[in-house]
């Protein structure tokens, strides 16, 4: 083939990728400390990635107002991770070209798996704030940490709520409860649902009347499923929805007059997202979602340092987005704040010293944003019982905190859910 053409191709390649001698940007000049931020900013998960970025940027500014990290201003090198290949590739770029020693992100399990592998190979710290894949910490990778509990924790909390808070109010014992499990089939939905099923059955003996997964992106109609469920007559519906599927299920259940005592969800998507309330208004009343704290949260229940930073965080998010923080904001923000606490203690990003600092942290519940405490296990997982989660309920257009009762001024309503038009 033409040598000319070949030459052009090769030159293009060299220019695009090589970029010349200043390609490697490395760490910024003195005064700034750069970390890598890897989030899905395009594709299906873009809306969550955007919220994560908002939470991160808000907390970054809060950190810089308080002196930054290790005496320097915290700055981000942001990368978009749409799919596993991109995640790995961008992680590589952040490490090699941007010279970061710490990467945070990444929201989705398919992305955090690939990216953390790359980081581990380069001895770069991976500070995960939201992905819930239970296997994340079990791969023998060093310097990989997760600030949020994994899917098993979500399922654990949900069943805790159902067994200890709901069942008595239905005048039923946990092992008399009939539970229907419905879920979207991504790694998130599967992780939470499976752990919930496990605990429901083995620890409480709840009766599982249905288990169904579906793909939320192609779901058009929930009527067949609802008709089936009407006949199975569950007490509690454990539904992990992602987006449109939650709205569809709830709305069509109302149309079909499908009655049940409670619906419980977990996470910042689907029923736990702002869009659910926007789509249904007061019709959304009654749904429970396991999340980070919302309105009603008693700051007084937190320790003093926790109160300060939680208030600052909430105000900043309110100023920036006009709303109370949503789950994605809270997870990303808390993750970054926790990173700052570690760096304050370690005073360096040397992986071994960083690791020692991480392991030495031991703060009780109520110490920081979201009312979390901190205690990392040997494999870098923040403990279930420190990462306090809360049950929120949709009440008149707002997701308010209703459980655990010592943390909130508000109480859950409509237990059991009555007729559809009676939930005011």
């Amino acid at each position: 083939m033409s040598r000319v053409a070949l030459g052009i191709i090769v030159a293009t390649l060299a220019i695009l990728l090589g970029g010349g001698p200043d390609a490697v940007r490395g760490q910024a000049p003195t005064g700034e400390y750069k970390i890598g931020v890897l989030e899905p900013l395009t594709g299906n998960l873009a809306f969550e990635g955007k919220r994560h970025m908002e939470g991160l940027e808000v907390v970054r500014d809060l950190i810089n107002e308080r002196g930054g990290v290790m005496g320097k201003k915290l700055v981000f090198a942001v990368a978009d991770a749409t799919d596993p290949t991109a995640a790995a590739s961008e992680a590589n770029r952040l490490i090699t070209r941007e010279g970061v020693k710490i990467i945070t992100g990444t929201f989705s399990s398919r992305l955090c798996g690939a990216a953390s592998e790359v980081a581990a190979r380069h001895k770069v710290i991976y500070w995960e704030s939201s992905c819930v894949d239970p296997r994340f910490n079990k791969r023998d990778l060093k310097y990989v940490y997760r600030t949020e509990i994994d899917a098993t924790g979500f399922g654990w909390y949900n069943i805790e709520f159902i067994a200890k808070h709901l069942a008595p109010r239905f005048n039923l014992k946990p092992n008399q409860l009939k539970v229907a499990f419905l879920s979207e089939d991504s790694s998130y939905g599967q992780g939470v649902t499976e752990s919930a099923r496990q605990r429901a059955k083995t620890e409480f003996g709840m009766q599982e009347v249905m288990l169904e997964y579906y793909n939320w992106t192609t779901l058009n109609d929930m009527t067949p499923t609802i008709l089936k469920m009407k006949q199975l007559n569950p007490d509690v519906v454990h539904h992990i929805g992602f987006g449109n599927d939650a709205v569809l299920f709830w709305r069509q259940s109302k149309e079909q007059n499908f009655l049940f005592k409670a619906l419980v969800h977990a996470g910042a998507t689907g029923y736990g997202g702002a869009d659910f309330g926007k789509a249904l208004g007061n019709d959304a009343n009654g749904v429970f979602a396991l999340l980070e704290p919302g309105p009603g949260f008693r700051l007084e229940a937190l320790r003093p340092e926790g109160q300060q930073i939680e208030k600052a965080f909430r105000d900043a998010i309110q100023k920036r987005t006009g709303t109370y923080p949503f789950g994605a904001h809270q997870l990303a923000g808390a993750g970054l704040w926790l990173l700052k606490l570690v760096l304050d203690r370690a005073k360096t990003d040397d992986p071994e010293k960083f690791n020692a600092a991480v392991m030495s942290l031991d703060m009780p519940v109520g110490s920081m944003i979201n009312g979390w405490g901190v205690k990392f296990s040997e494999v870098g997982q923040n403990a279930n019982d420190r990462v306090q989660h809360y049950m929120l309920q949709w009440q008149n257009g707002q997701l308010v905190t209703v459980w655990p009762e010592e943390f909130t001024t508000l109480r859950a309503k409509w237990i059991p859910l009555g007729a559809w038009d009676q939930r005011k």
């Binding site: 083939m1 033409s2 040598r3 000319v4 053409a5 070949l6 191709i9 090769v10 293009t12 390649l13 695009l16 990728l17 090589g18 390609a23 490697v24 900013l41 395009t42 873009a46 990635g49 955007k50 970025m53 908002e54 090198a77 942001v78 990368a79 978009d80 799919d83 596993p84 290949t85 991109a86 790995a88 590739s89 961008e90 590589n92 770029r93 490490i95 090699t96 070209r97 399990s109 398919r110 798996g113 690939a114 592998e117 790359v118 581990a120 190979r121 380069h122 894949d133 296997r135 994340f136 791969r139 023998d140 089939d185 991504s186 790694s187 939905g189 599967q190 992780g191 997964y213 793909n215």
Partner: protein, 323 residues
């Protein structure tokens, strides 16, 4: 052999350059991009075997990619054996899948054929996502990195050579098709299937063969990819996006030419990587601009350079020869 090498200066230059690069460049990101270029190039070349040489334009090759990726990942995580054995299993599975698809879609042409391949890949996607017990369903499979050759736990430089080997393998198959009787018959099927059949060429059988061969090669690369990136997720490995990428690289580079897929891969992968690196971090609100540019470039290249880069280069050469 020297003569044959001299008759393909483009290939020598390209692969030679790729082989020499790790000796001079140590930048991990550059090497990573090189691995991806070679791997996507190899996958596109594998696609070319069916699409360019036999005229079977499929948009479902992710089926075979996914099968290869899962075979390798499962063999390691579930059965505790090595990824090479997984690769072998993947090849067997993909050959089978290739035969099935080839057989079922035998009478279909053009868009009908393309759509049937998409359907097949989606059936696989859904099936694998639901089979939680075996494939871990939607959660995907994290593939452990264990240093060593038998476990395909390689460093960046070694991966360049691994990807290069895969690229050379697919290239060799393409070259074989260009020079062999099998290749001439496939060309007949591609150019005018009815005429070829009238001439006594067993078109049906050849089509199935081409697809199966293409499938096997795709699967091999899929297994390599699984070990390289380290996470196998069904919604990605069986996705239509991936299938489109394989076809796209080849079309841009030049269908039915041996070097075309690699040229296309260089252009597209570089563009993709470059745009993503430069624009994605700009501002949250502008995420997506780089994809708009990517899509537009796609439309333009496909429209104005339909022969692909290789075709363009030949035309340049022909014009210069006549000048």
């Amino acid at each position: 052999m020297i003569a044959r090498l001299r008759s393909r200066p483009g290939a020598v230059a390209l692969f030679g350059l790729a082989a020499l690069t790790p000796l001079f460049v140590r930048d991990a990101y550059f090497l990573d991009s090189l691995v991806l270029i070679l791997l996507w190039g190899a996958l596109s070349a594998a696609w070319n075997v069916a699409g360019g040489y036999a005229g079977q334009v499929s948009i479902g090759h992710a089926s075979f990619f996914g099968l290869g990726a899962y075979a390798a990942a499962l063999m390691v995580t579930r059965f505790g054996r090595g990824p090479w054995l997984g690769m072998l299993v993947g090849v067997v599975l993909s050959l089978g899948a290739g035969f099935i698809i080839g057989f079922l879609s035998n009478r279909l042409r053009g868009p009908y054929f393309a759509l049937s391949t998409i359907a097949f890949s989606q059936v696989l996607l859904i099936g694998v996502s639901r089979w939680r017990g075996f494939t871990a369903g939607g959660e995907g499979i994290p593939v452990p990195f264990r240093p060593g050759f038998t476990t395909l736990g390689l460093g960046h430089i070694a991966w360049v050579y691994m990807a290069l080997a895969a690229a050379l393998l697919c290239y060799a198959v393409e070259v074989y098709l260009e020079r062999s009787r099998l290749g001439y018959r496939l060309a007949g099927v591609r150019e005018d299937e009815d005429a070829a059949e009238a001439l006594g060429i067993p078109t049906r059988r050849l089509k199935v063969l081409a697809i199966a061969l293409s499938a096997a090669l795709t699967s091999i690369c899929g297994s390599l990819w699984a070990q390289y990136v380290g996470f196998v997720d069904p919604t990605y490995v069986f996705s239509v996006d991936l299938s489109v990428k394989f076809a796209l690289n080849t079309i841009i580079g030049g269908m039915g030419t041996a070097l075309g897929p690699y040229l296309g891969s260089i252009l597209i992968t570089s563009l993709e990587t470059y745009l993503r690196a430069t624009f994605s971090g700009v501002k949250t609100g502008f995420a997506g601009i780089y994809l708009i540019i990517y899509g537009t470039v796609l439309i333009l290249v496909v429209r104005f350079v339909p022969d692909g880069l290789a075709g363009f280069a030949s035309r340049l050469r022909a014009r210069r020869a006549h000048a």
